[in-house]
Amino acid sequence: MKVTVVSRSGREVIKGGLELSDSATVADLQEAIHKRTKIFYPARQRLTLPLPPGSKGKAHFYHFLGYKGEHIKHPVQTYALYYWCFHYFKRIMETFFVHRFSHATSPLSNVFRNCAYYWTFGSYIAYYVNHPLYTPVSDLQMKIGFGIGLVCQLANFYCHILLRSLRRPDGNGGYQIPSGFLFNIVTCANYTTEIYQWLGFNIATQTVAGYIFLVVATSIMTNWALAKHRRLKKLFDGKGWKT
């Protein structure tokens, strides 16, 4: 018998259809589809029969990207996209308009290293957050996560404003002890808020990839913070240091 395999939109998934024996089973059909399409092994197929005439709905054998079931898009996936893009947009704007750098340039090799870091993690996390089989967390957890993230990003922005005011615009860099707001508690409150905003993102999206990113980013920033704290301690040798 001749079997046509058609997607929900009506497109023929297997051109010309398949020839099967009259006693063929569904399993045989799945094997035949697998042979022709290579990537759709039986576990990735969902096949339905055309409905009898007069009943509602459309006739379909269907496939969707090889994954069982409909392609459902969860709101959290859209919010994650906005959050991620907002985070890096904010960073770029801060680089242009807020930060005052002690060294205005950095080595070219940093470009390759930094891009590799951001793009690899970006794609690694995005793969899972936008996966057809992504499992979202509860609505409450998502709201808490993004809530923490946004509050910490605001706090982080304020930390950057405070750090900016430590240096003169014509300034020759130089280091000052930051104070005020969270800087009264930790030396590098900007890193603290950055770390916690990523935690918020992960609470909302819950992927192992995202948490790995959090651990790596935290260890990098912790190293920076410890170094800066040591540097400031040496420079100011107890002067102006609140305990």
Partner: protein, 221 residues
């Protein structure tokens, strides 16, 4: 107090290094003996237990580096230990079909000679305070042959194990799950092979630099 701690450190490291040395010498002995008596297909079965013990003990060395018991930077020891544990457990132990391959023999002999020299070198330093010059020479020269043979054996074994890894679902984690995580052992093996491309010259170069430093220092003395 400090003297007691320093003595304890020396005692612990002495016991550790000589114990692991014994493990690796046993691996070397059994490998050569089995090769001679029964052929390369049986080498893995003969060395499996002492190999797993001696190689897995190396995890302690990461701890030693982290707590400051030894001076070696963990950036040098981590990739080495990582690849060793990967081969020992994810490839050799988990892919039975590869265990009779002749590359197992070359792998195990390369590793056990290198490690016997290395651990006796450290063991001597802890006990005597120094290592004899012939052992120093061995430690910083045999890698010139054994790194290439060892690395080729590692790469070869991973490569030949690929079809068996693909067929099996071992260690694979599939979606969907609540942590939105997946792991495909086959693609991880391909990635592991890829890492050898920058990793091997990096490790070899590091050893070459260490050799220069160590052998020129001994000449001055």
């Amino acid at each position: 107090m400090a003297r007691i701690l320093s003595l304890l450190r020396r005692l612990y490291l002495t016991v550790y290094n000589w114990a692991v040395f014994l493990g690796w010498s046993q691996v070397l002995f059994l490998a050569v003996k089995t090769l001679k008596d029964s052929g390369h297909e049986h080498v893995y079965n003969a060395v499996e237990k002492p190999l797993q013990l001696a190689q897995t003990a190396a995890v302690l060395e990461i701890l030693h580096g982290l707590v400051g018991l030894v001076r070696s930077p963990i950036t040098a020891t981590l990739p080495q230990i990582g690849s060793r544990l990967y081969l020992t457990w994810v490839i050799l132990y988990s892919v039975p079909e590869i265990q009779s391959h002749f590359l197992v023999t070359s792998l195990v002999i390369s590793w056990s000679i290198t490690e016997s020299i290395r651990y006796s070198f450290f063991g001597m330093k802890e006990v005597l305070g120094f290592a004899p010059s012939w052992l120093l020479w061995l430690r910083y020269s045999t890698f010139l042959l054994l790194y290439p043979t060892g690395i080729s054996s590692e790469v070869g074994l991973v490569y030949f194990a690929l079809p068996y890894i693909k067929e099996s679902d071992k260690y694979c984690i599939r979606m969907p799950n609540k942590w939105n995580f997946s792991f495909d052992n086959f693609y991880a093996a391909i990635l592991a092979l890829g890492i050898y491309i920058p990793g091997s010259p990096h490790l070899f170069g590091y050893m070459l630099a260490q050799r220069k430093k160590a052998l020129s220092k001994s000449k001055k003395e």
